[in-house]
Point group: C2
Chain length 266, copies 2
């Protein structure tokens, strides 16, 4: 039984595909997405050709996802649109899922925007960042719902690539700011706290992506969860302020819900 048919020789390309992702034009941030194991000397015409092909494929995939939704992204159609052979996306990325992930990572330039947000109170700050992230996705909902739907449906490695160390560091910084301001109880572990916040964020996103949550409720729902969790970890001094944000989010959510319910009796 030729069980060696797995033969992940090609998958090697999947490991080093991160190199070209960050090199996307719009990004500008130039962050390294994953491990950069590729030999740094190999800057020849051959490598450039590969990179250009990779870029064409990502570009074509992005366009096709935006135009037709997930169902439109067949590997044969993708290859044709990108002007490459059917085998080439597999050579360069390894699988369809890897291509989708590459598209997602290609457009992640939150960090630049996040840097703009400045706020006195660290709790207000993290909630403002949440708003910003939500705005980002709502800026192109057709694209991102499709993309995230794909992402959720693929194996775990894909999600771990999204929730990467760089991202963790950024958000952990925000939580640590809150702790440093004395707004959290002494015994609270900020890393564990962040994971709870992440769970909240991700699960609400899943609702949105699945169509169970309207765009208007996305931000308020996430912020209510954040406020509740933070309030649960708050010190005595900071609690009242955060509790106020809980009540505020709840009010927003109820109003938006009633408005939506009145508009679409779905």
């Amino acid at each position: 039984m030729g069980e060696d048919t797995v033969r992940r020789a090609r998958t090697g390309a999947l490991a080093d595909h991160g190199a070209d992702l960050a090199a996307e034009p719009s990004a500008g941030t130039g962050g390294h997405t994953t491990k950069e194991a590729a030999p740094p000397r190999a800057r020849g015409r051959r490598e450039a050709g590969k990179e250009e092909r990779r870029h064409r494929i990502i570009q074509a995939a992005r366009e096709m996802i935006r135009e037709t939704g997930r169902t439109g992204l067949s590997m044969r159609a993708l290859a044709e649109r990108a002007g490459v052979s059917l085998a080439t996306p597999y050579n360069l990325f390894g699988s369809r899922g890897a291509v989708v992930l590459a598209v997602l990572e290609d457009v992640r330039d939150f960090q630049a925007r996040f840097a703009q947000v400045r706020n006195g109170d660290p709790v207000d700050h993290i909630l403002a960042v949440v708003d910003l992230a939500v705005e980002f996705y709502l800026g192109d909902p057709a694209f991102y719902t499709t993309l995230w739907r794909e992402v959720f449906s693929v194996s775990g490695e894909v999600r771990t690539a999204i929730y990467n160390p760089r991202r963790d560091e950024f958000w952990l910084g925000l939580v640590n700011d809150i702790a440093a301001a004395g707004a959290l109880r002494e015994e609270i572990d900020t890393a564990l706290l962040l994971r709870q916040l992440d769970h909240q964020f991700r699960s609400v996103m899943l609702d949105w992506v699945a169509g169970d949550l309207s765009a208007g409720l996305l931000g308020p729902t996430i912020k209510l969860g954040y406020a509740l969790i933070l309030c649960g970890a708050a010190s005595d001094e900071a609690r009242e302020r955060i509790a106020h944000r809980v009540a505020e989010s709840q009010r927003l959510l109820r109003e938006a819900g009633e408005r939506a319910a009145g508009a679409t009796p779905s």
Copy 2:
């Protein structure tokens, strides 16, 4: 190919392994497999034959999922094992995803167990129920990780079928008990609170299913989230008690994490 379309004589060991899970045959209800709500009059031999075929298919699917994981559940193999034609599962269920959902609904008998749990403090009560639910899944992890992985990867209607009104009612009762005991602030909307708890639960399950969270951390992680959120909604009188549960869950989580990290440096 079809040389020996054996009818497989439905191995009498049918109820053996599944006994602990699905022992409850949902007798009186008449198996509401889908939203069909089978007309109560149509109890002919023809309908009985259909139901028996349905049962054979679900049973075969359950066995195959347990034995081989998701990859083993191909429609052709399923049809062969169930002793039906390839077209029959499509006639009876409609799609592969619908079969998987039917398997999931077939084994959901939490409620009976939940009724056993009695506890003085309503907060302790809901956390005990969480423990029970986690235990339920951990009782057959190979089966439930596969099943939930499938569920997460299918369209939204599947999840809404899981989070159904009956389930909501049950959990909302638990949350309302907490409110009735005066442990929550006046302004807290229990329905919204429940949704935040659900998000927590579901997202942690997703982690477990994806292999990002070990079995030992599943319960503590969920309970930490629950405790944090409840603490964030707690009234002044109840807060200290709940904050204590936060600290306790956090300690458990840290210890379990360190133990796991020491054992498997993965």
